[in-house]
C-alpha cells in the first residue's frame, strides 16, 4: 500500500515535471528556430520570453474546443488523450540517474518502443474521427510512416542490447561505464536517430502533419485542449526519443563526477533535443514514398547488417 502510494506520488511529480518541460521546450524551440532564421522569436512574456509557454497554455485552455459537424465525437475526444498518455507512460521507465526510474522494468527498451508505436493509433483515430479529408490523408501517412520507420527502429538498437546483454535501461547505461555505445555502434546510432525523428513526427519526417500540403494533417480539426494534447505528445516524444538515445548510445547519466548524474542526463537530452530543432530549421520534407523506400531498401538492410556484425563480434568474443 505504502509502495503504491509512493509510486503514485512519484508519477504525479514526473507528469507535472514533464508538462513543464514540454512547455519550456516549445518556447526553446521557437526561440532557437527564430535565431536560426535571423529573427528573435518570442521574447516579450517574462525574461527572454520564458513565460511564453504559460501564456500559450492559458490561451489553449480557454479556446473553444468542439468536434466539427459529422465528426465521431467520442473518438474525436479520445484521440488526443491517446496521443499524450503512452508517451508519458514511456517516461515511467526512463532511468534519469542511478536507480532513478519510477518503474525500472527489465524490458524497458521494448516498453518505450511499444509506447511510441501506440501513438500512431491516436493519429489515425483523430484523423478518421475528424471527418476531414486533409486529416484523413495525414492519418494515412502516419500509418504508412509508422510501417516505414518501425521496420528498423527496433533493429537499430538491438546491437546495443546485444552488447549490454539486457533490455533494462539501467543495465545498458552501466555497460557504458568504459565506452559509450555510440563509438562501437555508430551506424546503429545514426539509424536509431533517423527512426526516432520519424517516430516523433518531426521535420524532415513530419509527413502526418505536413502543414504545407495538408493544412495541419491529422490535427486539422483540433483546437484548444485537443490540439494541446496532440502537441504535448509530439514534444514529449521528441524528449523521449532523445532520452532513449542518450541512454542507449551516449552513456545515460554517466559523466565526470563534478555534476550529479541526472544533470548529465538532462544536459545530454537537451543537446539531442536541440539537434531536433536544428534539423527542423534546416531540412526540407521528403515525399512519404521516399521515406518508405529509404526505410525498407536502405535502412532496414543496414540495420540487419549492423545486427549481424554485432552478433558475430559478441558471440566471437571480440569484446
Amino acid at each position: 500500500m505504502i509502495e503504491a502510494l509512493k509510486i503514485g506520488m512519484l508519477s504525479a511529480i514526473l507528469i507535472a515535471g514533464l508538462l513543464v518541460v514540454a512547455g519550456v521546450f516549445t518556447w526553446a524551440e521557437r526561440r532557437v528556430l527564430g535565431l536560426m532564421q535571423e529573427r528573435l522569436g518570442p521574447n516579450r512574456v517574462g525574461p527572454f520570453g520564458f513565460l511564453q509557454w504559460v501564456a500559450d497554455t492559458v490561451k489553449l485552455l480557454t479556446k473553444e474546443d468542439r468536434p466539427p459537424p459529422g465528426a465521431d465525437a467520442p473518438l474525436f475526444r479520445l484521440a488526443p488523450a491517446l496521443a499524450a498518455a503512452p508517451i508519458i507512460a514511456g517516461f515511467g521507465v526512463v532511468a534519469f540517474g542511478e536507480g532513478l526510474a519510477i518503474a525500472p522494468i527489465d524490458m524497458g527498451v521494448v516498453f518505450i518502443l511499444a509506447m511510441m508505436a501506440l501513438t500512431v493509433y491516436a493519429l489515425v483515430l483523430g484523423a478518421w474521427s475528424s471527418n476531414n479529408r486533409y486529416a484523413l490523408l495525414g492519418g494515412m501517412r502516419a500509418a504508412a510512416q509508422m510501417l516505414a520507420y518501425e521496420s528498423f527502429f527496433g533493429l537499430s538498437l538491438m546491437g546495443v542490447v546485444m552488447l549490454a546483454g539486457s533490455f533494462a535501461l539501467s543495465d545498458i547505461v552501466s555497460a557504458q561505464s568504459n565506452l559509450w555505445f555510440i563509438v562501437v555502434q555508430p551506424l546503429g546510432a545514426a539509424l536509431f536517430f533517423l527512426a526516432g525523428v520519424a517516430a516523433a513526427h518531426r521535420l524532415p519526417f513530419d509527413l502526418p502533419e505536413s502543414e504545407n500540403d495538408l493544412v495541419a494533417g491529422f490535427m486539422t480539426e483540433y483546437s484548444g485542449m485537443g490540439f494541446a494534447l496532440f502537441f504535448l505528445g509530439e514534444y514529449l516524444a521528441i524528449l523521449l526519443v532523445s532520452a532513449l538515445a542518450v541512454t542507449l548510445f551516449l552513456g545515460g547519466w554517466l559523466g565526470p563526477s563534478f555534476l550529479p548524474g541526472p544533470i548529465w542526463f538532462a544536459l545530454k537530452t537537451s543537446v539531442l533535443a536541440f539537434v531536433f530543432i536544428w534539423l527542423r530549421a534546416t531540412l526540407p520534407r521528403p515525399r512519404y514514398d521516399q521515406l518508405v523506400k529509404f526505410a525498407w531498401k536502405a535502412a532496414l538492410p543496414l540495420a540487419l547488417a549492423n545486427l549481424l556484425l554485432t552478433g558475430v563480434v559478441v558471440v566471437g568474443g571480440g569484446l
Partner: protein, 173 residues
C-alpha cells in the same frame, strides 16, 4: 557524396545562431519612416495661422471609401471654411487621394501611424482633432493671398500675380 550537402546546410543554418538579427523591436525601437509615407491625416494652416481648408468637398469626392464628411460655412469676411470636417479613420485606407485632390494643400497625410484606440468611436476625428498649428509639408503657401475671390481686406485683382478684373461692359480693348 549525397550527405555532404546535408551537413553543409546544417552548418550554414547553425551559423545563423550567432549572426545579427533583422528583427526590430518595435515599441522600444521606433521605425524611421520616409517623410512621404501616409499615416495620420491632418488639416494644416496658412502661414498667418488661418485654416487652409475652404470646404470645397473635393477630398470627400475623391475618397474611395467615403470616409470624409465636410460641411461648408462662410465667415463674415467672406472666406469659406468647414463647419464640420469629419474623417472616420476606422474606414480610411490611407490612399492619399484626398491630399492629391486638395486645391489648398489643407489636408495632408503624415508618417504617424500609431492610431490604435480601444473604442471605435475614438477613431472618428473631428475638426479639432485634425487641425494642427503649422503649415505641414507646403511651407509659405497661402491660398487666400493667391485666390481671385474677394474677401475682406482683399478685393478682386488684389491677389498675387492677379491682373485687374476686366470690365465686361467696356468696349475698349
Amino acid at each position: 557524396m549525397k550527405g555532404a550537402g546535408l551537413i553543409e546546410s546544417l552548418l550554414r543554418v547553425g551559423r545563423k545562431l550567432a549572426t545579427p538579427k533583422y528583427t526590430r523591436q518595435y515599441p522600444e525601437e521606433k521605425p524611421n519612416l520616409p517623410a512621404r509615407s501616409r499615416g495620420r491625416i491632418i488639416l494644416t494652416r496658412d502661414p498667418d495661422g488661418t485654416e487652409r481648408c475652404v470646404a470645397c468637398n473635393l477630398c470627400a469626392v475623391a475618397c474611395p471609401v467615403d470616409c470624409i464628411k465636410v460641411e461648408k460655412t462662410e465667415t463674415e469676411d467672406g472666406r469659406w471654411r468647414p463647419e464640420t470636417f469629419r474623417i472616420n479613420l476606422a474606414r480610411c485606407i490611407f490612399c492619399g487621394y484626398c491630399e492629391e485632390a486638395c486645391p489648398t494643400s489643407a489636408i495632408q497625410l503624415t508618417p504617424d501611424f500609431e492610431l490604435a484606440e480601444h473604442q471605435r468611436d475614438a477613431l472618428v476625428y473631428d475638426l479639432p482633432d485634425l487641425l494642427i498649428a503649422g503649415e505641414g509639408k507646403h511651407r509659405g503657401y497661402c491660398y487666400w493671398s493667391l485666390a481671385g475671390k474677394a474677401i475682406r481686406g482683399k478685393d478682386k485683382g488684389d491677389a498675387e500675380n492677379e491682373a485687374a478684373p476686366t470690365d465686361l461692359k467696356d468696349l475698349t480693348p
